[in-house]
Amino acid sequence: MKDICCGIDLGTTNSVIARLQGGIPQPIDIEEGQAIVPSVVSFDPEDGRVYFGAQALNRFVAFPAHTVKSVKRLMGKETPLQVGDATYLPEEISAMLLKHLASEASRVLGQTVHKVVITVPAYFDDGQRRATIRAGELAGLEVMRIINEPTAAAFVYDSPAATGEVKEEIILVYDLGGGTFDVSVVQLRGDIKEVLASCGDTALGGDDFDERLKDHFLRHLHEKCGIDLSYDFPLQVRLKDIAERTKIALSTQPFVAVNEVAVAVVNNEPVNLLLEVGRNEFEEMTADLVDKTSRKVLEALDEAKVDVEDIDRIVLVGGSTRIPVVQDMLADLFDQPMEHSVDPDLCVALGAAVQAGIITGEALRHILIDVSAHSLGTRTIDEIDPETGEADYFSTIIRRNTRIPVTRSEVYYTMVPDQKLVDVEVFQGESPSCRDNTLVDSFRFELKPAPMHSPITLEFSYDLQGIVQVTVNQKGYANTKTVAVDLKKPKTAGKQVKGKENEEPVLGDKPINYISQKARQLLQETRIPQDSLAELKTLTCQYEAALLDNEDEERVDELEDRLVELMDTLEEDRGPLG
């Protein structure tokens, strides 16, 4: 079997193993088709069998004395753990987990996984790092490097080896997982990275958000049947599941209708859970949790001795960063792009795989993920343009850098009783003022007579072809309208005049394929003469536009030939990209 090098995110709650495939990091689905493996080990005292991952977690309540969870918290400690009649050092348990991950990955891939890069929290001291290396060695693995989790997360978006650029930047990594929260300020300078500050809360995570919803449901049931059901254990288990599902749904829609059959039985009658939860309501319930993380962010900045303005990028890690209010809080704090297109549950492991690739000298490719190049939203009257006196608030619905395809919706309210219509204007851009953004399309939506402040939901469904299906719905009145908006062909109005033909060509926000990506890399080269660069830019723009506009194959082919030939000539003159 061929030997490969993998990256491992050895987490407190879950672990993930990933590798480079064709220069792109990919998670390895090792357990029931899942890449995320619970960091749990369980021993069967009868037959000596050892269980890992989900199976071990499933056994935890049944065999608590023989099951070990969250061993990462104990790494570096010399106190052995009592597991049944046996004792193990924390690193020995971690070694078993690492061995399981590597051997299962080997089985799935048909290649031996022997060399690994393992991630550790930025706050791990030397002893904890050495314990992690020992765990790897005990597992029979060659630990090529130990890297900090926030650094790995930053690598997955922008590794210097993939971009060919050596730039200096300060990144804030916000990691809100299921049960823990960490925030780190990382300085990247080419291949050199330094964690300037790291802090967090080991008892704060997505589970706390679920808990708030669960309490809300319990209160609702109490009001409904007049009985406190908090003692009902089966109900608690069920409500926890419902709460998690509701939380996930609220990340994409402004309201969730909870219709759950027979959550409990009272006086021989089933009790159903029927209620609607609004995103606003959920945000109110969890405001203190988000505030807690916001305070930690400021604490980290203070510790790192950097200002809000010094942060170049924000990287989101952990499933709970999908909650819109978390992203809103960070957007309010920082005026910087947020990196959240890579699955936040996997990005640390993927970054470790990138690091493994850099060490072994594997060719890296920039991850081409289809993301929204700009934020998309609509105009609301929450702010007024002082010059024109017109409504001028840009309300974001889909944030920049969101992985597409994606569907997101927001709720807005009418201004007057029996409002006749609403102007739905789709804008793209990053400014809080519509005046500075681009109007993509607009249409009118006629309303049915309704009281003032009636809710209207606006849903954007953004596909890979750059088409956004805009659906507006007058809630409770069976009144809906859907309009397809092509972002490639914005309808210009007023000040937003499209570029004239003789103006300098402007490149789109992201490359279309590997050829245009290579052309863009060449455009960054300072050793190429200006006139050649101008020719390259024009040709790249034409080629990308032809592809985006689905021009006929002959035209695309001709432009592609010309572009490749020009790139070959320029590379010959200058030498290949390093």
Binding site: E32, Q55, N58, V61, P64, V237, E260, A262, V263, R403
Partner: protein
């Protein structure tokens, strides 16, 4: 040697007997024409390679999107939710002191139809009580005798699902010692 080399690229037949020696002399390639031809051939091959790379890139993007969509769940998720809802309804009816044989039969019939529908989608529901605890299929949320070697499922709080042979969700269960098994079977038969 050169002629054979040339013929390969020019797609000529070197065994063509009708061609005169003079003709062969006229068509004999020069080093420049060979170089030009090789260059052209090389360009063509590079272009094919480039086109193949673009196709592979596009396929990979589609695959990524597909796997992303499958990870986030499709219509089967709704079917599983429906089965789960019916499971809870059935449980609540079963909890009632008196349930007529007709009602019990109606519930059984509905389960039969629902399980057939799930089967068509290659989904299996995990909802059985009285079976031995299997850590692949069951997540213990409460155990009457923690550490007991052989435990049985005495109550299913949340059903689990197996989709295409893989456990999508383990059933959340309460465990009891094996001796309770007979009691459960008796209760179920009531």
């Amino acid at each position: 040697m050169l002629q054979t080399f040339w013929h390969r690229f020019a797609n000529c037949n070197p065994f063509n007997k009708n061609r005169s020696a003079q003709q062969e002399e006229v068509q004999s390639p020069t080093l420049e024409t060979i170089q030009a031809s090789l260059h052209e051939e090389f360009r063509g091959m590079r272009k094919i390679l480039r086109k193949q790379s673009l196709v592979i890139e596009a396929l990979r993007t589609k695959l990524d999107t597909f796997s992303h969509t499958s990870r986030s769940g499709g219509s089967n998720e709704e079917l599983m939710q429906l089965a789960s809802a019916f499971f809870h309804l059935g449980q609540s009816l079963g909890d009632q002191a008196i349930i007529s044989p007709q009602r019990r039969e109606a519930v059984s019939l509905f389960w039969l139809q629902l399980e057939q529908l799930l089967d068509q989608e290659n989904i299996e529901i995990i909802r059985e009580q009285g079976v031995l605890f299997d850590s692949r299929l069951h997540r213990a949320v409460l155990a009457h005798e923690p550490g007991a070697h052989k435990s049985v499922v005495v109550e299913v709080l949340e059903p689990g699902f197996i989709e295409h042979g893989k456990v999508r969700k383990a059933a959340k269960v309460i465990l009891g010692p094996e001796k309770d098994e007979q009691k459960i079977l008796e209760e179920n038969s009531l």
